[in-house]
């Protein structure tokens, strides 16, 4: 992380460098947190290009909001919060757009379905998770992939611990059903081939 002034800032924690500074550079943020964030963004967006756009917007917002970073959470958690906010905003925009297009009688292929159609290479488990709604995908990401504790997730999502547990329970139940379905459908072509032979 490059320091830009002598603010002895709380924001110095962003780069993990024990020095002063409260101005962040896009390239530095990208180097330190880019990969992890883009993977999380991809898990939420289900589209590589959208994920990259989302992450760079996150970095830009973070650079501008650096002065507001108080160091109460880990830098990645703070960046994830910004990304999550932007993602939700994007979801709302897409929903509004689809609704309007529905009113004028035009069918729109949303990025959701488009992404799934493109990602034929994904394994059944990932495809199953991708069929879940964003809030269930997110809770799986935070709990099982990031390995966060219930209390931590509750803080990040501003919900109660009970809600986190209940959401996890529903997400897992749906994921199990979807995974079974995916595995069954991915087996079908093989058996069909066997019959043909």
């Amino acid at each position: 992380m490059i320091d830009r002034d002598d603010g002895r800032g709380r924001a110095a924690a962003l780069g993990g460098v024990p020095s002063q500074g409260r101005t962040f550079v896009f390239a530095d943020l990208a180097a330190e947190h880019g990969d992890r964030l883009v993977r999380a963004a991809w898990f939420l967006c289900r589209d590589r290009d959208e994920a990259e756009d989302l992450v760079q917007e996150t970095f830009i917002e973070a650079i501008h909001a650096a002065a507001r970073f108080e160091g109460r959470s880990a830098p990645y958690t703070w960046l994830y919060g910004i990304m999550r906010r932007r993602f939700l905003l994007q979801c709302r925009k897409n929903r509004r757009f689809s609704r309007w297009m529905g009113l004028v009688g035009s069918s729109v292929k949303t990025s959701d379905t488009a992404a799934l159609e493109r990602d034929e290479r994904l394994d059944p488990m990932m495809r199953a998770v991708f069929s879940l709604p964003p809030k269930h995908r997110e809770i799986i990401l935070l709990r099982y992939i990031d390995g966060r504790k219930i209390a931590e997730i509750a803080g990040m999502l501003s919900i109660s611990e009970g809600t986190v547990k209940s959401r996890l329970h529903h997400a897992l139940r749906r994921a199990k059903t979807a995974i079974n379905l995916e595995r069954e459908t991915s087996i079908v072509p093989a058996t069909e081939k066997a019959h043909e032979l």
């Binding site: 896009f26 898990f43 590589r48 756009d53 917007e57 650079i63 909001a65 297009m101 219930i150 209390a151």
Partner: protein, 186 residues
């Protein structure tokens, strides 16, 4: 401890947030209950499977700042986070904006064209063809023109210099036209 309570605490047990006493109770129940033990094991199994699948799917995924749109020379970093909203807009949003702009323009145009109009006789000019519809009255019953004007009425005067006649019509707010004076004849 029963199975329901045990399953509600499995997350906390894995997080290590249970008190020593709760932990002991849970362990005792797990030792005696195979289905709750299976539930705990399946938690760990899910975690492993999700992690493996995620790692495999994202192995080739990395964020390259050089390829990022904002790092390209033709684009610049906006001066404020709010200004950055333009960066994220895709083709779909652009279409939506054009549709919204078109709808707005159509509404404004319709308001401009139809707004001044109100159905009825308002604005109609008294002509000879309308003569029969008009209730005539003599000049001596004339109301005070100024007073009528104040009440929102309009007096139209048609002066025919060749014939040396002057006719006065009175319109009211409802658009009714009434001949109120005829001078120069007889």
């Amino acid at each position: 401890m029963n199975c329901r309570k045990c399953r509600a605490r499995i997350f906390d047990y894995r997080d290590g947030t249970l008190s020593p006493r709760e932990k002991e109770d849970l362990k005792a129940h797990l030792a005696a209950c195979p289905s709750c033990r299976a539930e705990l094991e399946s938690e760990g199994k899910w975690e492993r499977e999700f992690k493996e699948s995620f790692s495999a799917a994202t192995a080739s995924l990395s964020f390259d700042p050089d390829k990022a749109r904002l790092a390209r020379p033709e684009t610049s970093v906006p001066s404020s986070p709010q200004a950055n909203t333009n960066v994220s807009t895709g083709g779909k949003q652009r279409v939506f904006r054009w549709l919204a702009a078109g709808a707005g323009a159509a509404i404004i145009l319709a308001a401009l064209i139809l707004g001044p109009f109100k159905p009825g006789k308002r604005g109609a000019f008294p002509t000879a063809a309308m003569e029969g519809q008009l209730a005539s009255s003599r000049s001596d019953d004339l109301p005070d023109p100024f007073q009528d004007w104040i009440q929102g009425r309009i007096i139209i005067t048609i002066e025919d210099k060749a014939a040396g006649t002057t006719e006065k019509y009175l319109t009211d707010r409802a658009g009714t036209i009434r001949k109120i004076a005829e001078q120069g004849r007889n």
